[in-house]
Amino acid sequence: MSSAIKGFAHGNRGNGIRNHQLILPSVICSTHVSRRIATEIDAVTFAHQHGCAIIGDDVAGIDNFFIQLADHPNVNSALVIGLGCETIQGQELAAKLLERNESTQYRIIQESGGVEGTVEAGVKAARELNTSFVPVSAEITTLRVGIDNGRQFPGISTLKGLLEAAGHTVIISDSPFSSAESFSRLAQEKAHIVISFPSETQPPSGFPLFPVINVASSSILHQAIRADFDIAESQIDAEITALIESVANGTHTIAEKNKSGEIRAPRVVRSV
């Protein structure tokens, strides 16, 4: 058993290893405003292309995806930014989030005076959330460690054994091609941290809500950009538990430093 990790108590979201304030755009039309707010207060956000002109199973699917992201243990508070006429209505999304977490607010562009008005109102609301919901430090003994097994890493069972011996819970996602879909899945599974084995022809990548430790293979691409990976396959057995402990305690991974993380949402039907 490794020593306890110093994390943050995030109420019903659980204990997290990051203290993220999430600016959540309910629709693509509010992603730019969300980014401006996030930049101003050093919060996390992400661009996405959803929330409107969706039909069928995608309505509940995208709504649920956003709810899961806002309910992630690494999130301290969530500010929803809506446009006003979208399918996934910002204030309704916020109401659903509020049922689980008090530290939720929303602002709507069409009701807040446009872009500048909403940036101003959003920054103010986000600062209020920060003041009202000061995170309490918490000791975490069991991490939920996600594994994005994009290249069918042969040492996966050894790694799983190592992590479990250290007291962690392991969630494995076998992605057929890209890490982005795995990350979305692992975020919904509330992984605190993810170890990514991108396929030999895929670059390392990240996700806004959790640190991703990227493991380099011996492929030409990975060796050419070795500096963008946190660790090599050959170092896994000896170093992974210490690396996880360090990252969980606050050391930024390379993907976090690069602020990388375009999310890929689960979709079934074309936009209308």
């Binding site: 292309q49 979208e86 562009i109 982005a180 895929q202 670059p203 074309r270």
Partner: protein, 389 residues
Amino acid sequence: MSEKLFAYLRDNGSWGLRNNVLVLPLHSALASTARTIADTSDGAVAISHDWSGEIDSDLRRILFTLSGYASNPNNYAVVFLIIGNAEEKSIIDGAQALGLKNFTVLSLPEIGSLEKLQSDALVVANKYVAEAKSQKRIEAPWSAIVLGLECGGSDALSGITANPALGVASDRLVELGATSVLGETTEILGAEHLLAARAIDPEVGKRIVAMVSRYEASINYEGIDIRGAQPSRGNIEGGLSTLEEKSLGAAKKAGNAPLTGVLEFGEKPLTPGLYFMDTPGHDIEQLAGFGAGHINVVVFTSGRGTPTGSAIMPTIKVSTNTPMYSAIPDLIDLDAGTIADGLETLAQVGDRIFAEIIEVANGKLTKAERGGHHEFALSRMYKTVISEY
């Protein structure tokens, strides 16, 4: 008001109304790097997307979109960021075939790290920006304008004020020899027969009807009655009752000009005239289709109000009602609500929209451009089945 056009002439004879330097990541993992490059540059723009090179049934559509977007004549030059796969090469080859001449390809594995990719790309982007700034606009013919017609967040006034006023401006431009493209298949469902009746020949008429039925069939395949899913909640709150009512109003953006042709998503019109392009009603996917189809200026009418714009095409926003225009003034360029209030006629607002298009074409920045709105979305079919027609 100047009635003369001044634009940037490209080597293949097309005209740019802007002289953008576009930083285009061809993998989603390079999107944040592209954004940082644009943000720290002397005026380059970037887009983000969520394609990580997936090879699936949407691949052809994605490659076509990115090739078209890169080669839009509003781009002076493109800096491609790649990870070095065959699909990326096909996008760049496609863009060249569509007329892109000035570009640099920066490969992450050749450069060795994201950090160095960022600093190398910044140097290249700034060099292009300096070149672009030294290029002069020259007097251009009316055919230089390739106008896109879009609406979003429609309300009960859309079909009475902003849309028909835009139709007046569109008709005038088509008459002068420009190109005007109506998009959003969802928005003409139930009004396709009116456009078909204006087709320059029966074949074009048949194509637009077939295109709309193909669209409706693809949605029905999912077991969803599109006529039940539209108008959207926002539209209903804005006072629209049925999809047909919304469509009859939406089609008015295209005025009364004859319909010259029908375009697939992202396909570029080859001769002047009025066209219809098969794009979704999703505002940003639709704008991506226009960008890929080499449209160089867009007029976007809205009842509810939207902040969105494009990294490469100036997008003029027109409100259908004055209360919305007054409530969110930093999003809307022109108000057509004056028609409903009896303060102006359709023709007068049409003239104002026409004049604004010319001014914006000549370099006046739109509110979305000033606000730095560079939204982008790839249009995908996902698991929706679409048959050829």
